[in-house]
């Protein structure tokens, strides 16, 4: 299976093009990272892929079938989304929140039963957050909420998982745990597309990367080829070094300074 983003363009107004022509592919069992400075349109791109924004040009398809032609529930079985920030208006328990991941697989008037709750519980276990199960979703921390949100997408079991900065609210340990999970999920056959602000995470995941610049220029390729000192300098305008770490057995990315 592959998720194909084909000549995608988006603008809020004709004069404000966010990006004009982006094409890349997410294969099942692989990770693609979206890297780029603030405001380059990473989240907008994710929103276009999932169908929250209507792309002004181009198309998104899974195995040749255009996402636009599919019903909502069908899309949700193919694509799952973990937004960066979620606000809670009411205080559902974490388990009741996670179980809503089953919705795309259920009929209108059906309610989650034992099978669905078992699936939700499994996802909580996988994230190692069963301790939160009976807590109010409105009263857990931002980082915990992010983990709960990932647990829900695991319950949803889509073919492709889109994550918007899944590590932004997490502590150092949980960041690495989530990256590890992302790798595991890819190994299990999920296709993953995630935005990140940390080039080192891209190296760590060692998949493919779309390096976006403001204005819509981008480069797509293997992380090792794209994440170089020059590219990162172009993206962020600061001095960055890529060095080999013996302990991590991989290249790491270090910020040297703002430069001149």
């Amino acid at each position: 299976m592959s998720l194909v983003i084909d000549h995608l363009g988006f603008s809020y107004a004709p004069s404000a093009q966010i990006f004009t022509d982006i094409s890349f592919e997410v294969e099942a069992g692989s990770v693609v990272c979206l890297l780029g400075p603030n405001g380059c349109g990473k989240t907008t791109l994710l929103n276009c892929v999932i169908g929250l924004h209507k792309a002004t040009s181009g198309s998104v398809s899974v195995d040749g079938e255009s996402i636009e032609q599919l019903a909502g529930a069908q899309v949700a079985q193919l694509l799952g989304y973990v937004p960066q920030e979620i606000t809670a208006a009411f205080d559902y328990t974490v388990l009741d929140y996670v179980v809503t991941g089953c919705a795309p697989h259920m009929k209108w008037f059906k309610r989650p039963g034992e099978a669905e709750y078992a699936r939700a519980w499994e996802s909580l276990e996988r994230m190692g957050i069963e301790r939160l199960a009976d807590q109010s979703y409105a009263r857990i921390s931002g980082g915990e909420r992010q983990q709960v949100s990932i647990a829900r997408v695991l319950t949803q079991k889509p073919a492709f998982i889109l994550l918007d900065e899944p590590t932004s609210h997490l502590d150092f340990g949980n960041q690495i745990r989530v990256l590890d999970l992302v790798k595991d999920l890819a190994r299990e056959g999920f296709g993953l597309l995630m935005t990140t602000h940390n080039p080192d995470h891209v190296l760590m995941l060692d998949g493919k990367v779309v390096a976006m610049q403001r204005g819509g220029d981008y480069r797509f390729g293997n992380a090792r080829d794209i994440v170089t000192a020059e590219t990162l300098h172009e993206l962020y305008g600061i001095e960055i070094a890529i060095e080999h770490s013996g302990a991590a057995k991989r290249d790491v990315c270090i910020a040297v300074g703002v430069g001149e």
Binding site: F90, Y92, T93, F109, E130, D134
Partner: protein, 347 residues
């Protein structure tokens, strides 16, 4: 195994069951009390006997009591429960759809529309039945205008819907103002004002039978969709990424809740506070999950309205308009609820 968490979840379930059963019992008890007291007061045991006799087809021992019960009190008790349950259920549903616990069922203009319909009937000198029909129709017309405005502006967000509701309500109250202005002070104006304050004085069995099918159908649909309502209350974006047809589900839910409100407001006149306060109270009792909150709102609202209506007809010799009592009791109660919710960190 995380038994503590599982226990916590089981405890919530048990709490819901307890609350549900207690409310059912309370409703029955209050219904019996309401049937027994009034202009003529009876022994509750005689009331039960009289009802069972009539239902089983026997000749009642006390025909006078039987007539009072079946012609006046039972329809009135049923109407009170129906109105309270309907307003509370649709209030709870509106709060969920609009992700906002401060919303009441008249957000999209049902009540102000119904007022215009009822006032028009008064001015045209129409009878009770026509008045109820006009109130119902105008209530739904107002909601239709509210949901059409965002479509015309091509901005189908919740916020636009709320603003459209404000526009419609504002317009409708001005139309009502014109009607009051031209109404005959002695007769028509007082009739309009009395309708606006809500009353079940004139309700009879036919009214209850006429509105029940619509109200019950809508209530069943809403209760059946309660889990979907949870997802809708996460907001449009999340609901959409979970594959929900937000426009369709929201449309169905809003239409059902509006029909439910309109179908009961047309027999009772507008009644304030119930649709706002009761959903809050039920959330405090069983939490926000609509699968539990909606049935509890329904029962609690029915019971509350029954108590209010019984007070309204027994406190003084003439019936006190319902909105006066719901406001006097509801407003301070709401303040207390907000205080409790603050204490529980829910707001």
């Amino acid at each position: 195994m995380h038994t503590a968490q599982l226990e916590g979840i089981a405890k919530r379930k048990k709490r819901y069951r307890t609350v549900f059963i207690v409310l059912c019992v309370l409703l029955c008890v209050f219904a019996l009390v309401a049937l027994s007291i009034g202009h003529y007061s009876y022994d509750p045991r005689d009331v039960i006997r009289s009802i069972t006799e009539t239902i089983s087809g026997k000749t009642p021992t006390d025909p006078a009591m039987d007539m009072v019960l079946f012609n006046i009190r039972i329809p009135r008790v049923l109407a009170a429960v129906l109105v309270g349950a309907a307003l509370s259920l649709s209030g709870a549903v509106y709060q969920g759809v609009f992700k906002n616990p401060l919303v009441s069922p008249d957000l999209l203009g049902v009540s102000s529309g119904a007022c215009v319909g009822a006032a028009a009937a008064v001015l045209l000198g129409l009878g009770m039945v026509q008045q109820q029909m006009l109130a119902f129709v105008f209530g739904l017309i107002a909601v239709t205008i509210s949901v059409t405005i965002p479509k015309l502006i091509r901005n189908n967000t919740n916020l636009m819907l709320v603003l459209a509701g404000i526009i419609t309500s504002g317009f409708m109250s001005s139309v009502l103002g014109i009607m009051k202005f031209v109404a005959d002070e002695e007769t028509e104006l007082s009739a309009i004002v009395f309708w606006q304050m809500g009353s079940l004085t004139t309700v009879d069995g036919i009214d209850v039978v006429a509105v029940s099918p619509i109200a019950i159908t809508c209530a069943i649909v809403l209760l059946a969709l309660s889990w979907r309502l949870n997802i809708l209350s996460f907001g449009e974006v999340e609901a959409k990424t979970l594959g929900m047809n937000v426009k369709l589900v929201r449309g169905v839910v809003i239409m059902c809740a509006s029909c439910l409100t309109a179908s009961t407001v047309c027999i009772s006149g507008t009644v304030g506070w119930v649709g706002l306060v009761i959903p809050h109270l039920s959330r405090l009792l069983v939490g926000s999950d609509h699968r539990r909150q909606l049935p509890v709102s329904l029962l609690l609202g029915g019971t509350f309205m029954l108590v209010i209506d019984t007070l309204s007809r027994t406190l003084t010799t003439s019936d006190i308009p319902l909105s006066i009592l719901t406001g006097l009791i509801g407003a301070p109660f709401y303040a207390w609820l907000l205080y409790r919710q603050r204490a529980a960190n829910l707001l």
